[in-house]
Symmetry: C2
């Protein structure tokens, strides 16, 4: 029975890593679609989100089945419950990438992002891609020290988000209102994407160390504290 259990756990881990790969691909393509005003690419991101949703549903079903059949306790129980939370984070990251793609589709044939801010949004997209790739490595390796390096990427994302608001509010050119709305939402989508990736990594730390720090338990709060202050800019 224990072997079957660990086979299932391996399957869950593999699927979580696959979800990080899909979420990373989605945010990368969504960013390109946004900056190149590539509506076909945007459509592929929007369509591909179903796959992430399906994996998440299957993973949750497998987890519940595992709980019922194997009745794990202690660490094994914690791993299963935590995996369900990770799949929820990763599914949400897919949604956020899809939101970005939808902004691209909405403004086609224009780009939603003014040329002066293209490099800035590109950087946010690259950090998003990097942070989810790292989250995947952390899940695969269960290396809790590697999880810490995501925090630096998240700090960089915070800084870019702050600068984006700065640019929105103080740009000397006459930005159309649609652009202000789009950029406000895009900033939030990238920021939340990174928050969820950090949350995934922190859950691995929790599994390895067995310690709930308050920020592990409620990771979103931590990050959004910073985010809120950025709106103040």
């Amino acid at each position: 029975m224990r072997d079957a259990f660990h086979d299932d756990l391996d399957k869950i881990t593999d699927q979580l890593v696959e979800m990080t790969r899909l979420a990373g691909s989605a945010v990368s393509r969504a960013t390109t679609a946004l900056l190149d005003a590539d509506v076909h690419l945007a459509e592929t991101v929007i369509a591909a989100d179903d796959e992430l949703d399906t994996i998440r549903t299957e993973l949750d079903a497998l987890s519940i089945d595992l709980l019922a059949r194997q009745q794990p306790v202690a660490t094994d129980l914690r791993i299963v419950v935590t995996s369900m939370r990770m799949s929820s984070d990763l599914e949400r990251m897919g949604d956020l990438a899809r939101h970005i793609a939808k902004v691209a589709r909405l403004r086609y044939p224009d780009s939603a992002v003014p040329p002066a801010l293209s490099a800035h949004i590109l950087q946010m997209g690259q950090i998003a891609e990097r942070i989810v790739a790292k989250a995947g490595s952390v899940i695969a390796s269960m290396d809790s020290t590697a999880a810490l390096s995501l925090e630096q990427d998240d700090d960089a994302m915070d800084e870019l988000h702050r600068q984006l608001f700065d640019a929105i509010l103080h740009d000397k050119t006459d930005l159309p209102r649609e652009t202000l709305v789009d950029l406000t939402l895009l900033g939030r989508y990238y920021e939340r994407f990174a928050d969820h990736a950090v949350s995934v990594a922190q859950r691995v730390v929790y599994l390895v160390t067995g310690e709930y720090r308050s920020e592990l338990d409620l990771p979103e709060l931590d990050h959004e504290e910073q985010e809120d202050s950025r709106v103040a800019l």
Copy 2:
């Protein structure tokens, strides 16, 4: 053993209902703080969010403990897992109310909402308050038909959100950029608050009917489909 299990389940239900009460109070007071530029009231909302976070942490610990000690299967297992998801939704609703309160605090002594849109935001706040109260009743009664009535409130919220974007984009007055950013984010906070309340109610439907409809499984997607189209305005 079964009695102890059901005592614990009753406790979980009571705590979930308490969370709906706290989230409702938070969004109601946040809306008042926003419209009256009442910074003290905003501070109470921001401070009170800790209580929701604490209940959520305790609830999750109780649920995991319950899984380990009682090893429930079938419906009982489903209830425990679903309860953890509900507490996650409700905790997030508290975060969103706190975000609204932070916008109020940020713009003090001004109101973040221009007078012409006060009545509109008030309506969004009232629907948010009503929908979470209904979610509480649905949890307490386990009445899956009552859950359907939340969808109507959510439709009303969708319509108000759409109208808000319309107002932002087509208002004839010279709205400051800060106001455009604030209103874009506030609209999203209220909309997401309602989405999570619907998600809570749909999880009760799932428990009662035992059927995963795709929108029960992934409730956010459904609602955000509509939301995205609103950004198109």
